[in-house]
């Protein structure tokens, strides 16, 4: 129904560094997140290259044992808390309001606070390298090793403070995403007909809201134990180190779904556009996310099968961990159903979305193997687990990130990335990734534990490690090409227009880049895929 359009207030776009530091605009904040998290991706990646160089052969002495322990701790902590968790907050910030036809997030100033907390959390964590040593007890920081009795420096305290800031950032961001999605959808957009990326971000944010407080508590209690004389995790004072593990994993297990659900949302956006048909089984995919989110809170002790719990406890967590494979499987099959009978265009974005599926299947299957408790008793804390986690986090979440990046770059910049370079990047990434991580399944079966700074020769582990190291440098090559493509395309990429891919969702209904107010007129929609309804030429 037509209403006389209100004249928009005149808006002067501020430029310069100050505008970036003081911005409350969701698009600028989204970009701040993306730049910051990608920078930390490079930091974490460099840490990985140091690890792989040290492990390239047996008995190497590239770094000292303590420095190695700091580096792998920071690699894990950085990649999880400074990269994969916030990077999708970056995409979410930029695109969630656009995709629901809103002008900004519900709480722009809270949004700004979320970003700066994440930024300073990352800075605090990394300052530890220069101020007495980085944390060195692994990203899981188990007690009693992480208590002052066994870690008397300040590294763990930096870890705690950095993560407290990042956790708060996450929680505030989650509140913002949930309220925005629930209250600011444009006319006609039912919650069940919101785009799958929006739905994924909302479900993820609900997980963040319920899980992050648990690690906040764990971190505060550890801070108290370390600095204020409490003994929650210390046996001499009546405490129990297992309390740390339960508190930690109660958050950190849902955290892995927090890291992968948005990437799955991106895959659910990219596949239909480049198959030119709707997502197959929208309802099943949406409900499977809900299932994963709820069940994700019931599996945490599958990280603890070897601590000596009664068999009844192990049984419950084994069963729950197997059940969670079912909704994941539904997604995979529904995605293949989306491809089937389509008109597939193999753009860089599409290749990475397909790569996600291919690699995530492997990670999911090794996850099912890990749910089989006696197998877990053998392969827990070995490179088999390192393989599994990288297949789901790198082959999954990071590939999903690249898919979203190639897909949405034209909307943000107004130019497309170079497609030839993008395809080369994809193939180099796939080869490098599998070279690095596939052999880790095997070397774990051959008895190689995790978190060791070196290993003995003559145990059959050297060659697998050597190949992994080569693979890691190939991954670095891919990332380098990606960064070059990113920056060169900003100047010389092909002009994109509003909807270069023929997308179906509302972000493609405005200019590239969008104006500060997103839409001249808030759109009204009538169901899924608003840009495709009634206009087959747009597909």
């Amino acid at each position: 129904m037509a209403v006389a359009a209100q004249p928009l207030p005149s808006h002067q776009e501020k430029g310069g560094l100050l505008s970036w530091i003081t911005t409350v605009d969701h698009k600028k904040i989204g970009l701040l997140y993306l730049y910051t998290t990608f920078f930390f991706f490079l930091v974490g990646g460099t840490e990985a290259l140091i690890v792989r160089t040290q492990l390239a052969w047996s008995n190497l002495k590239i770094v000292s044992p303590d420095l190695y322990n700091q580096i792998f701790t920071m690699h894990g902590t950085t990649m999880i808390f400074l990269v994969v968790v916030p990077i999708f907050a970056g995409f979410g910030n930029y695109f969630l309001p656009l995709m629901i036809g809103a002008r900004d997030m519900a709480f722009p100033k809270l949004n700004m606070l979320s970003y700066w907390l994440a930024f300073f959390g990352g800075v605090t964590l990394n300052l530890s390298f220069f101020l007495g040593g980085a944390p060195n007890a692994g990203w899981t920081s188990y007690a009693p090793l992480s208590t002052t009795a066994y870690s008397s420096g300040t590294g763990i305290d930096f870890w705690i403070l950095g993560l407290l800031m990042i956790g708060t950032s996450s929680t505030l961001g989650a509140i913002n995403f949930i309220v925005t999605t629930l209250t600011m959808r444009c006319p006609g957009m039912k919650l069940t007909e919101a785009p799958m990326f929006v739905w994924s971000m909302m479900i993820t944010s609900l997980m963040v809201l319920f899980s992050t407080p648990m690690i906040t508590v764990a971190l505060i209690v550890l801070l108290l134990d370390r600095n204020f004389g409490t003994q929650f995790f210390s046996v001499p004072g009546g405490g129990d180190p297992l309390l740390w593990q339960n508190l930690f994993w109660f958050y950190s297990h849902p955290a892995v779904y927090i890291m992968v659900l948005p990437a799955m949302g991106i895959v659910s956006e990219v596949l239909p556009v480049f198959s030119r048909k709707p997502l197959f089984g929208h309802a099943f995919i949406a409900w499977s996310s809900v299932f994963i989110a709820v069940l994700g809170f019931a599996v945490w002790a599958h990280h603890m099968f070897q601590v000596g719990s009664p068999l009844s406890v192990d049984t419950f967590f084994s069963a729950a961990s197997m059940v969670i494979a079912v909704p994941t499987g539904i997604k995979i099959f529904n995605w293949i159903g989306t491809l089937w009978g389509g008109a597939i265009r193999l753009t860089s974005a599409m290749l990475f979305a397909l790569g996600f599926i291919g690699m995530f299947v492997i990670g999911g299957l090794s996850g099912v193997m890990l749910a089989v408790v006696p197998v877990n008793w053998q392969v827990h804390d070995t490179y088999f687990v390192v393989a599994h986690l990288h297949y789901v986090l790198f082959g999954g979440s990071v590939f999903g990130f690249f898919a979203g990046f190639y897909y949405w770059y034209p909307k943000v910049i107004g130019r497309k990335m170079n497609e030839t370079l993008g395809k080369i990047h994809f193939w180099i990434q796939v080869v490098g990734f599998n070279l690095t991580f596939f052999g880790m399944h095997i070397v774990g079966l051959l008895g190689m534990p995790r978190r060791i700074y070196t290993y003995a020769s003559g145990q059959g582990w050297d060659t697998y490690n050597f190949i992994s190291t080569i693979g890691a440098f190939i991954i670095a090559l891919g990332v380098l090409l990606f960064v070059i493509n990113w920056f060169m395309s900003m100047k010389s990429g092909e002009a994109a227009g509003d909807n270069p891919w023929g997308g179906a969702t509302l972000e493609w209904a405005t200019s590239s880049p969008p104006p500060p107010h997103n839409f001249d007129k808030i759109p009204t929609v009538h169901g899924l895929n608003p840009l495709w309804e009634g206009d087959p030429h747009l597909k």
Binding site: W57, I62, Y142, I344, V375, Q378, G458, Q459
Partner: protein
């Protein structure tokens, strides 16, 4: 931008970086290294030598078979759908929204497969962790930063680094730690169990074949987590009897000047941390040395027990294993030779 030139340039940069990174590995490969950690035969879980390991490997192959089949099916479907439906005109894309019957099927079938898998899992769990009944040898395993202590309470034997057991007999393990969490694992014999502070964990195993099986700590436990190794040595019942009888003897009186001087130095300098049965050395911080010469390894299972290695270790433990709790004792080379001579008599 020329994609090919860019690829070649960045490729060259990365290859140079890689070569620099692996040069140390290449330089080292193949050279003999007497002070490098000992290696055991590949401690593979696929080489089971006990009931528990065999049961686990069988289950592993079952789940691997299921996983491999699903892998082939799904990846084939993925690749086929991409190859078959790519680069077609847009008008040929079938505009379907789903197929409820199909979706229910691919929910129910995986659920069924997993239910069967769960059944196998539960059965194996019960078999492997069945409590010990009847005749068993009790061993208390205690994790320390960064070595393993083995105590046989009924036999009154305390040793370290090598766990000697008789073939076919149930070994009833009580596992704990004096400091941080450690992981007790011998891949060829049993799945791992953590040594948790304030808890005593129970597990048991029996070995089917005579041999030595390498083990390692699996729970990140600090600076030298990577060098906290041990082995299980399985011998015949008769050999175990002989070993136990020998281990139950106190340390013999030293013979010869060097060994006599060495014992004096050891009691003076080492008694604070080490026990030597039958002497006044009753320290409990480090491994029991009463029969150290009956063992093949020192320094937390990483160095062969040769005279040279012993000298190296005693002279400067930090150089061998940085962070080790054993301090530099400031002994001169004469004193070290004497100590090594004495320790060599502690068979």
């Amino acid at each position: 931008m020329n994609a090919r030139r860019l690829l070649i340039a960045t490729g060259l940069i990365v290859i140079v970086a890689l070569v620099i990174a692996v040069l140390p590995a290449m330089a080292q490969g193949g050279t003999d290294c007497p002070t490098c950690p000992v290696s055991f035969n590949t401690p593979s879980i696929l080489d089971p030598n006990s009931f528990a390991a065999t049961e686990t490997v069988t289950l592993f192959y079952v789940v691997l078979g299921i996983a491999a089949s699903i892998f082939v099916l799904v990846e084939a479907l993925l690749i086929i759908s991409v190859l078959r439906f790519r680069n077609r005109p847009a008008s040929e894309a079938i505009q379907i929204h789903g197929n409820t019957k199909l979706e229910i099927m691919w929910t129910a079938i995986p659920a069924l497969i997993l239910a069967v898998l769960l059944g196998f899992t539960l059965r194996s769990m019960a078999n492997i962790r069945a409590p010990v009944s009847g005749d068993a040898i009790k061993v208390k395993v205690t994790g320390h930063q960064w070595w393993w202590e083995f105590n046989y309470p009924d036999l009154k034997i305390t040793t370290a680094n090598q766990l000697v057991v008789p073939i076919g007999k149930k070994i009833d393990v009580e596992l704990t730690t004096v400091d941080v969490q450690h992981g007790f694992w011998v891949p060829q014999l049993f799945g791992k169990m953590d040594a948790v502070a304030g808890h005593t964990n129970h597990m048991n195993f029996s070995v089917n074949n005579i041999g030595e099986y390498g083990g390692q700590c699996t729970q990140m436990c600090g600076e030298e987590h990577a060098q906290m190794r041990f082995s299980v040595v399985t011998v015949s019942a008769a050999d175990f009897q002989k070993w136990a009888t020998d281990q139950q003897q106190p340390a013999p009186a030293p013979a010869g000047d060097a060994a006599t001087r060495g014992q004096k130095t050891v009691i003076e300098k080492c008694a604070a941390c080490h026990t030597i049965g039958g002497t006044t050395a009753v320290g409990k911080v480090g491994p029991n040395l009463t029969h150290v010469a009956s063992r093949d390894f020192i320094a937390g299972g990483i160095l062969k027990r040769t005279d040279d290695n012993l000298k190296l270790w005693i002279q400067n433990p930090q150089a061998v294993k940085v962070g080790a709790k054993m301090p530099n004792l400031g002994l001169d080379s004469q004193a070290i030779n004497d100590v090594v001579a004495y320790l060599g008599t502690l068979k």
